[in-house]
């Protein structure tokens, strides 16, 4: 039966289908990659080269000039450091506190636990845009407007993170294991640090990736919280030079490219983990 079907496809139509498929994929890849290549190239050209015709599809020699121009229009390294600081603090904090909280939901029975857990999950459904105003008003009320603290600290309490880690605990750690540790005389803190944390490393990596990428790329909350240019993060600083008169495009594109570079390099090495992490909610349903 299968053989009969096979022979219905002549080799010629098969090759054609294969060719079409490869072309389709190649086209998708070119479209996907092109803006990245283009931004990298533009970073090495002068403004007039960029806007020349035909466009300069080669590596230019204006990289150094663009770099100094970039430092002129924004304090690039300071801004990069700000982004890094916020992302690292938020990531470490979220990973630690989400796993602590998840342990609470996992290992303890207490009155109202299910209600609290359900509420927490429900809070994940609220669109971020709706939370913008309460977030801003809270930050304003606490008097931490225009601080980095206002950007990384609230990220620590993260319903998604708690949910993700708890779900992982349920599959990775048996209740017997906790009991065995209790019988061995371990306190809860000890069980958490010595037994649970080592066993949930994969999900901590996942959560860390999601948090870091989210914080690094964040734009809307810095936009409403930060006002002094020396506190700006990368996304804010980039957009602030977008509409400079007589824009130094080479420099702006160089900055844009450099701002993406850390994640791109990380993706080169950890693509499996990053992809798994960012689709974690999706694939496990």
């Amino acid at each position: 039966m299968q053989n009969v079907k096979r022979s219905a496809h002549t080799p010629k139509t098969q090759t054609l289908a294969r060719l079409a498929k490869l072309n389709f994929l190649a086209f998708g890849i070119v479209i996907t990659i092109f803006p990245f290549v283009w931004v990298a190239l533009m970073g090495t050209h002068t403004r007039s080269e960029i806007f020349s015709s035909p466009p300069p599809f080669y590596i230019g020699d204006n990289f150094i000039d663009n770099y100094y121009k970039l430092l002129e229009i924004m304090p690039f390294w300071l801004v990069l450091w700000n982004s890094l600081f916020i992302s690292v603090m938020g990531t470490i904090g979220a990973v630690f506190f989400c796993s602590l909280c998840a342990y609470g939901f996992f290992a303890f029975e207490f009155r109202g636990k299910n209600i609290i857990f359900t509420l927490m999950i429900a809070s994940m459904m609220v669109p971020p845009a709706l939370l913008l105003i309460p977030f801003f008003l809270t930050v304003q009320f606490l008097g931490i407007l225009d601080t980095h603290f206002a950007l990384w600290f609230p990220a620590i309490a993260n319903a998604f993170g708690i949910f993700l880690v708890r779900q992982y605990m349920v599959t990775a750690i048996s209740k017997d294991l906790l009991d065995a540790a209790k019988v061995d005389g371990a306190s809860h803190l000890r069980i958490f640090l010595v037994i649970v944390l080592p066993l949930i490393k994969p999900v901590l990596a996942t959560l860390g990736i999601v948090m870091f990428i989210g914080l690094w790329n964040n734009f809307l909350s810095p936009l409403i919280v930060l006002s002094s240019p020396d506190k700006f993060v990368l996304t804010l600083a980039l957009r602030s030079v977008q509409s400079l008169g007589d824009s130094p495009w080479g420099a702006v594109m160089l900055g844009t490219f450099l701002s993406m570079l850390p994640l791109l390099i990380a993706f080169l090495f950890f693509s499996k983990q990053i992809m798994a992490g960012l689709t974690a909610g999706a694939v496990k349903g």
């Binding site: 017997d176 540790a181 005389g185 000890r190 080592p198």
Partner: protein, 361 residues
């Protein structure tokens, strides 16, 4: 080592009662097996003794001390779990030594005690492996090692052998027995394998629906079960039961439902209940006590029709239709018999068990 006492222990989860009014005294060094059908509350009881769950009411005493509110750590109990619950990220050495490390025992001593334990359990070669690199039997031994390295007050086992294959189970059973002979720690051993319970335990506790049915040595449970549940639970194949009524006030014969008369002896006076005061009774007969021969003195005769034969190799089980139900008899001779052939079985008076027939009314 310690003695254990439970008094009036009850446990409910929300509204459902799981354990009710348990009383038990376990002297130092005794090996107790706890058996009962699935869901009867064995694990729950064990967890309460360990201090992992709290009883709803009643007391747990270790060495006469009230320990209800002590943590497992303070009770110094060791437990072997059905799933072994080995720490997957630690080596065998670290698994066995974890409790000692937590108890802040000096490294030197930990090393020495772990090595010693490993020697007893034949684990020396495996100390640097992770649990995932061990076979089922080896994991089981690590779980045992984790318990015995501690010199605990009390050993608790929750069906520790149920994940092993039949052969390994017998082998580990013997090792546990040897181990207990050597170190004599008070032990509570949960199982639902009665052979395991009979061979290992000094005394057996039978639990059903959260209530203790009977406590006794294996012989006591076999010879003088106090109720049909125990009688049916202990022994394989299970005891046969026939329903009957006394024929007259003199209690000299029992009439079965189909009218057959069984001349009955006066039940032994030392049994748990006075059969002569009851009207409806259950007569219990173990298959191994029913013999394929005519009745002699001190015997009663049970007549029936052979339904079919179940051969097992060493002996045949005869399935005989008596009084509208099928009973089992053991035939060591493996006689040649025809299906539907009339059968005469004999059983000695001393092997008859009498119970009040309450469940069937």
């Amino acid at each position: 080592m310690a003695s254990l006492q439970l008094s009036n222990l009850s446990k409910s989860f929300n509204q459902t009662k799981v354990l009710e009014g348990l009383n038990l005294m376990v002297p130092e060094g005794e090996f107790i097996a706890l058996i009962g059908p699935s869901g009867c509350g064995k694990s729950t009881l064990l967890r309460i003794i360990a201090g992992l769950d709290e009883p709803t009411s009643g007391d747990v005493l270790l060495d006469g001390q009230w320990v209800n509110e002590l943590s497992p750590r303070e009770r110094k109990v060791a437990m072997v779990f059905q799933s072994y619950a080995l720490y997957p990220h630690m080596t065998v050495f670290e698994n066995i030594g974890f409790n000692l490390k937590i108890s802040k025992i000096p490294r030197q001593e930990i090393r020495q005690r772990v090595t010693q334990t490993a020697a007893i359990l034949d684990l020396e070669e495996l100390l640097e492996r992770k649990p995932s690199q061990l076979s089922g039997g080896q994991r089981q031994r690590v779980a045992m090692g984790r318990a015995i390295v501690r010199n605990p007050n009390l050993f608790l086992f929750d069906e520790p052998l149920s994940n092993l294959d039949a052969k390994l189970r017998v082998q580990m059973r013997d090792e546990i027995k040897k181990l207990h002979k050597a170190i004599k720690t008070t032990s509570i051993y949960v199982t639902h394998d009665q052979v395991e319970a009979m061979t290992l335990a000094d005394r057996i506790v039978i639990l059903n629906d959260g209530v203790i049915q009977q406590i006794g040595t294996p012989q006591q449970l076999y010879n003088t079960p106090v109720n049909p549940f125990v009688a049916g639970f202990i022994g394989s194949p299970s005891m046969n039961f026939l329903n009957g009524k006394w024929e007259d006030d003199h209690k000299t014969a029992i009439i079965l439902k189909d009218g057959t008369k069984l001349p009955a002896p006066v039940p032994k006076s030392n049994t748990h209940f006075d059969a002569s005061t009851q009207n409806d009774i259950l007569i219990g007969m173990r298959p191994e006590h029913l013999h394929l021969r005519p009745a002699m003195s001190e015997d009663i005769q049970v007549k029936g029709v052979l339904d079919h034969i179940e051969p097992t190799g060493a002996q045949n089980y005869l399935k005989v239709r008596v009084d509208g139900q099928i009973i089992t008899a053991t035939d060591l001779q493996q006689s040649q018999l025809q299906s539907q052939q009339p059968i005469e079985l004999a059983i000695a008076h001393k092997n008859l068990h009498f119970f009040a027939n309450t469940a069937h009314e």
